[in-house]
Point group: C2
Chain length 332, copies 2
Amino acid sequence: MIETDPKYYVDGVLEGNRKALSKTITLIESALPSHQKLTHEVLDALLPHTGNSIRLGITGVPGVGKSTFIESLGLRLIEEEHQVAILAVDPSSAKSGGSIMGDKTRMEKLSADPRAFIRPSPAGRTLGGVARKTRESILVCEAAGFDVVMVETVGVGQSEYSVASMVDFFLVLLLAGAGDELQGIKRGIIEIADAIAVNKADGNNIENAANAKAAYENALHMMAPASPVWQPPVMTCSALTMTGIDAIWHNVLEHRHLMQQAGEFDRKRREQAMDWFLYLLDEGLKEWFYQLPDVKEMLPGIRRQITDGRTTAMAGARRLLETLSTMLQNDS
Amino acid sequence: MIETDPKYYVDGVLEGNRKALSKTITLIESALPSHQKLTHEVLDALLPHTGNSIRLGITGVPGVGKSTFIESLGLRLIEEEHQVAILAVDPSSAKSGGSIMGDKTRMEKLSADPRAFIRPSPAGRTLGGVARKTRESILVCEAAGFDVVMVETVGVGQSEYSVASMVDFFLVLLLAGAGDELQGIKRGIIEIADAIAVNKADGNNIENAANAKAAYENALHMMAPASPVWQPPVMTCSALTMTGIDAIWHNVLEHRHLMQQAGEFDRKRREQAMDWFLYLLDEGLKEWFYQLPDVKEMLPGIRRQITDGRTTAMAGARRLLETLSTMLQNDS
């Protein structure tokens, strides 16, 4: 049963009540228009209590050891009195039936600890939808008092870019590969990393990991850093031997400190909010446009003509956009 | 004086008449609604005669020797009986007053040759506008019989991405730098390159260029190639000593051959056309939306509230999008 009183959610979240927090996120994830309306009311009320966490994004291909890494880091942080929330963005999970962190046993110790909150990836067919829900969930976790929010994603499609645009620090986990072709890492992912960590640097793998670290350092040095105050470091770590985890966390804090000192931290968050606003506007506008009866009727034929080279992209777009000028005339 | 009969442009271009070609591009560049309408008629008529050129994009920061490189390659190609057109995308030129290739004397020999056609960057305040004009100009050059169309851009803002999305092959020119921080090359640019050429590999610079080549090769090998049939090569060249220019051209041809064989060539062009269609739709839709009276009135205040943290991106977008649902109700 879903509560319909916004006060239930707002008060519960602000008190740090886990059940209310979970229910609020369930509300966010609901597609029902009435729930969406309620979500908006709840989020508007929670807004003044948001923004106070360290938002940490973590990505890596399956098998890189993300869950174990996140559990190790999470356990370290709750020891230091942090309140840690873990969310996921995984648009593939809906299709595959699986979900990153769908099985909480993958973070057995952490999920049993009352100082941590773990929420699997919401269902959703589009990355945009999943990302929207996760963004809103970050705010709710902050309002509930969590001061570290980790957002996990698997490196599929565009999900890393989406997660990077909602966090303060974006960490890319990699494995040491066999020489050159390191796990087919997508070009461009290094571009958005605030740090790279070569995971599973333990046992026989220590030397491989050190070599991979050097190779990635070279690759990073070939590129201009995204911020003038931060050159993304390459590190090694092992969740198994708990090596390097502290160093990574100190990096996150150092990054925050330098960014705040340079005024870049607030600037980045403001930019992210504005980008998100423009993105939502754009998405909402397209959603509205593509369900207009005229557009729905004409679009398939025009697409076919463009693919077959029977019309230009320009002419096709023009024909569809005429729908709008007609509408304006009707309206005025 | 601008001709108003579409036949003048269409016939002239199809005959390969330079004056008609120039005038058609001037028409494309005009912002007047009546000219835009005429442009559409002309392009629709020319469409069946387009698509038959090798579309080659070339980028590099100022000072890398782009003009000299393009002139050398262009002269080589007209010797081989190619018809070469050179266009530019440079959204910065309108602001700075300067323009890449604005001064044709930078390609003195080539511009004097009747087998080549050189057109400076169109004026325009936005990259989108400049890119649109250049895309349409490519089609017109093809209809006029040019079988190689080069599109030059300076690595500013997003212009490289824009050019990469309208060509078959995207070449990035670089210089050998002093070690690590090579000319502050943007991360991400390597991602869209089909080849990288280290220019000015002559005289005392030959060794530096070879070292830079090796360094970029390493960086490229760290990343998965964009196409399964093509691993972007790194080359060196000198327009001064005419070294490496042929090798680059053979690379362009080899790339075309492999892509065609794998069916990737047509697929890429179709995708580019569809992306362009969706982009134009999106841009047209936004243009229409942002000049709606309600939106114009509300937008500045909502932006301010988001920047100040007084409202969320979600709530702000929602308020603006309500304008649309009202409109639908009026319309039905």
